[in-house]
Symmetry: C2
Subunit: 594 residues, 2 copies
């Protein structure tokens, strides 16, 4: 029973569902449906799929999310970036327009769904953390540019292809002599109209005294108006006969649910892209869901969100759709329109199903240029130049990862772009952590405090070297620690004792333990004994389980002052009797600058 | 001039070279030469190359290392693990015994050399840190097992093949009916003899009153004795005609130095394996060099070591050899025999060159089973079961990476084994760091100290939530921080202020900054203001460069106590007036258990 509740959030909110909530959800569903119809068609086009596939991906997935998802306002369905990634992954395996291409897109959704569910069950949502914000932001900016440029061919009415910016632009210029001027006219005017709607219309409607809610709905209906107008024009003037590419016949009726067939070679080939799509889709979706939940002081459960999105993708696959995730713009619309529970999504599904059954014949004459225009206007808002500037100003390391992600995504491809960004940000993080801050410390005269010899006037003895390390010790910095200690000892022949002061060491992993053993062993070979001081309780507990302490040539001191008193009583005595001022003047006992 | 000195350590020790040093070096060179001849032949066999290639790889590379290396005692040349990796990499591209196979091995050495030099010049020695000790140890253990099993075919005298343990054992059992009994006899007896030499001989010789040095030299000469004896037997009884596979004619004479040709496809295919060989070889070599240097309180320079090993590999390639690195056993012998400078290596090179010119005709009748026996005895010492047990006892996370490395190396291959180990250890490290320790803190009554509410009796107010985070904030834990704060706020509707206490935060990367902005934004949406306290100087300096502080709904407090006095003066007042004992009794102000 508990398990049911955990994995079926619907059981929780469903119990308290009433007429008032239903009304809110219904209103939101109508608004989202109006917005989602042209989007579904356009994104299917972007993925290189027949337009009806976009509609299929907007029915069952929404129902599945309503049952398994935890966000009250998230609207799932086809989105731009995932459509681009689908086109890129499937385009390597099959020719656009073939049954194999569609089949591969369906398998991609199915695999992605299974992976998301598995990640949810095994609580692997953590994997999404590996995508740093600058890498995601850079990837989305690059995807926006790629998508916009890939749609130019539809606006120009030329055949063109390519998956990278270079290929796309090269292919476009090769075909520039074949521009269809009517298509270009429709495309340009629609783009301009949609930009105007986005930038200006709402302000004007509010100026006319319209209520904000209706002003918003009308603004979001801009693409629907563009679709209706250009479809009518195209039908009235038989533009299809003048070389304008139309959407064409869309099979009406709903697909029969069926499981995708198993083909081990295809599944293997799609496993990598499916994982990337899953993670990118999840990150996008969760950040939208969290933003909206926080506004109402609600919570979403990231692990359950994985299951919700996974179920949506499986549902998409068995109903002939392609990978889906939570979309930003439509979720905000859903939220603003008053969606109170995931049921709003289920109502939207009914709306899309209705459209699929009865409205598709009307779309036969819809020019593809219109859909391309809606995509271009939508994705250019993904390009975030401000984020690039801010990252550059804040952190050169993060900017490096971001710039690499953008350039590789644009010029080599989307999958390698993400992988490069993630690898680089991890490598840069490990690099920063591989050189932990270490300081030679001495005792502050008249106290039992120890401070960096470079920054403070402190007393040090000749025969004891005390090194404080300001980070946990692990594989990436253990060799640095070894090198540092050997170097310090090699240049100071008078040293008899090395004390490693560990107040900031939260963990010593197996590599670092071996390095400490090596340090102990090698120092003993050169006649120096090795001590530790101020080791934290949990770290000490684990060291006690090994034989490290048996072999340690020196001791483990509870406090560094105790170490000093034991190993170098003379210096300890001097530090007590001298006042800081005198020490600063005499300078004899001030540690060397390193 | 400075640059010359930096990159040519020979200029430093060469100046002070005298007759006494030369004598030490010469003695060491003789001992190492005796040990290196059978090793070179055997490891070439292991790499699937003609035996003379092993000799070529033991001449010029040693001279190059003498000029560019920094370790006084490191002996470079063919080693077991790198030979196995060469066989694995080259075996995918060409058939053993063909000129293409040899050509690919030479290119592999050349690429590896160039990569090592580049890593040295760009000071990328850090890359080696990504190999954690348990991963290296697991990889070497698995390599030892793989190598030993791959040599069984020579001991049994059957044709067999395969690169993974499963393939090798399967292929062996398929050919068991073709066992050559004479070969098996030679192989088994030689193996038994060499094991006895290794385990027992030195002790006996010492028992007979021999000086330790000579006992050691005689023990190391065991393989030479085995080679001589079996060669004589094989020649005397014409064993080659009875189906015993012999080494056969080895071209005497030295190879003409020449650059390997450029073939972009081959170079691309070998780039990945070359990188792995470079890093593994470097890690092995540096740890040997450091161990030996520490015994004499000397230092090696890891970045210059990269250049030294790189030069050795380039030298190996242009003289028809294959990848080399510093070997453990022979370096220890070199050190023990008194090698005082890298010149010992150059003298060894002369010895090997002499052997190549004059002794190779004698090796025609050497049975391959003898060489296989020397390999088996040498590599089984690489198998370190103790390390596996120790790692298991010390850290389950490190053990996971180690076990995965061993299993993948044995059953899927050496390259994927290393890559799996490295990826897994990085992933596990990031996973541990993605859940930093955080504690809700309250003020200790009568003090200005703040402590974890779960561990101490402290005073907290209802409207202020103070969370202390005990680690730097970066991409892998920033989402965890967000989730944690939203969850805490969602379950406590009375909260008006959230204070993030940052005394342990050394860095806030761009992802974490965005998370803090999101937290600030979302908390403000739900009417909660967000504050920071005890931010370190350098972190604050960077935050000041952004507009984060302008948008912050709360304040940045120098001390947490100041935050409490400002945000919740009542609780601050109560904490002053109450004694700890009273608070513990009344329990009203003790924070909730989380």
């Amino acid at each position: 029973m508990n398990l049911f509740k955990r994995y079926l959030p619907v059981l929780d909110w469903g119990k308290r569902y009433d007429r008032k909530t239903a009304t809110s959800d219904l209103v939101a569903a109508v608004v989202v449906t109006i917005m989602l119809i042209p989007q579904s068609l356009a994104y299917a086009l972007l993925a290189g799929l027949p337009p009806e596939v976009g509609l299929y991906a907007s029915i069952l997935p929404l129902v599945a999310y309503a049952v398994f998802g935890t966000s009250r306002a998230l609207a799932v369905g086809p989105v731009a970036v995932v459509s681009l990634m689908t086109a890129s992954a499937v385009g390597e395996l099959a020719q656009q327009g073939t049954p194999e291409y569609l089949g591969a897109a369906i398998v991609l959704a199915f695999l992605s769904g299974l992976m998301l569910i598995a990640m949810g069950l095994f609580r692997l949502g953590f994997l999404a953390n590996l995508l740093s914000h600058p890498v995601i932001s850079g990837f989305i900016t690059a995807s926006g540019l790629l998508i916009a440029s890939s749609q130019l061919k539809h606006v120009l009415g030329v055949p063109a292809s390519g998956h990278t910016l270079y290929e796309i632009l090269l292919s476009l210029t090769d075909h520039l002599d074949q521009v269809n001027w009517i298509t270009l006219g429709i495309g340009t005017l629609t783009t301009a109209f949609l930009f105007w709607v986005r930038k200006d219309l709402k302000k004007r409607l509010l100026g006319f005294g319209l209520q904000p809610f209706f002003a918003d709905v009308l603004t979001k209906a801009g693409p629907v108006a563009a679709v209706a107008t250009t479809t009518l024009l195209s039908a009235a003037f038989a533009l299809g006969e003048r070389g304008v590419r139309l959407v064409g016949d869309i099979p009406s009726g709903l697909p029969m649910p069926q499981l995708p067939g198993f083909d081990s070679q295809l599944w293997m080939a799609l496993a990598g892209p499916a994982l990337l799509i899953s993670v990118i889709g999840f990150v996008e979706s969760v950040s939208v869901a969290q933003t909206l939940a926080a506004k109402k002081r609600q919570r979403i459960d990231p692990d359950q969100e994985l299951i919700g999105l996974g179920a949506s993708n499986v549902a998409s696959a068995i109903s002939g759709g392609y990978p889906v995730t939570g979309g930003f713009a439509r979720s905000v619309v859903n939220f603003d329109a008053g969606a109170a529970t995931p049921a709003a999504g289920a109502f939207t599904a009914v709306g899309i199903a209705f459209a699929t059954l009865f409205l598709t014949p009307l779309l036969t004459f819809l020019p593809q240029a219109t859909l391309a225009a809606t995509i271009i206007v939508a994705v250019l808002s993904l390009v975030d130049v401000g984020a690039i500037k801010r990252t550059y100003a804040y952190s050169k390391s993060d900017f490096t990862a971001m710039a690499a992600t953008i350039l590789v995504t644009l010029f080599l491809g989307v999958e390698i772009g993400v992988v490069t960004g993630v690898s680089l940000s991890i490598a840069l993080y490990l690099y920063r952590n591989s050189r932990p801050h270490m300081a030679i410390v001495g005792v502050v005269p008249g106290t039992e405090h120890f401070r960096n010899v470079e920054r403070h006037k402190v007393v040090t003895g000749d025969c004891v070297l005390t090194l404080r390390v300001d980070e946990s010790l692990f594989f990436a910095n253990s060799r640095f620690l070894e090198d540092k200690i050997y170097a310090l000892v090699a240049e100071r022949p008078e040293i008899e004792h090395v004390v490693l002061m560990c107040p900031a060491v939260n963990e010593i992993d197996a590599s670092a333990l071996e390095s400490l053993e090596e340090i102990n062993h090698r120092l003993s070979d050169s006649g120096v004994s090795f001590h530790l001081s101020e080791v934290k309780g949990p770290v000490m507990d684990r060291l006690k389980k090994t034989d490290f302490l048996d072999h340690l040539t020196g001791q483990v001191f509870l406090s560094q002052y105790e170490a000093l008193c034991t190993l170098d009583p003379l210096t300890a005595h001097i530090s007590e009797s001298r006042t800081p001022k005198k020490v600063a003047k005499s300078n004899v006992w001030v540690g060397p600058e390193i």
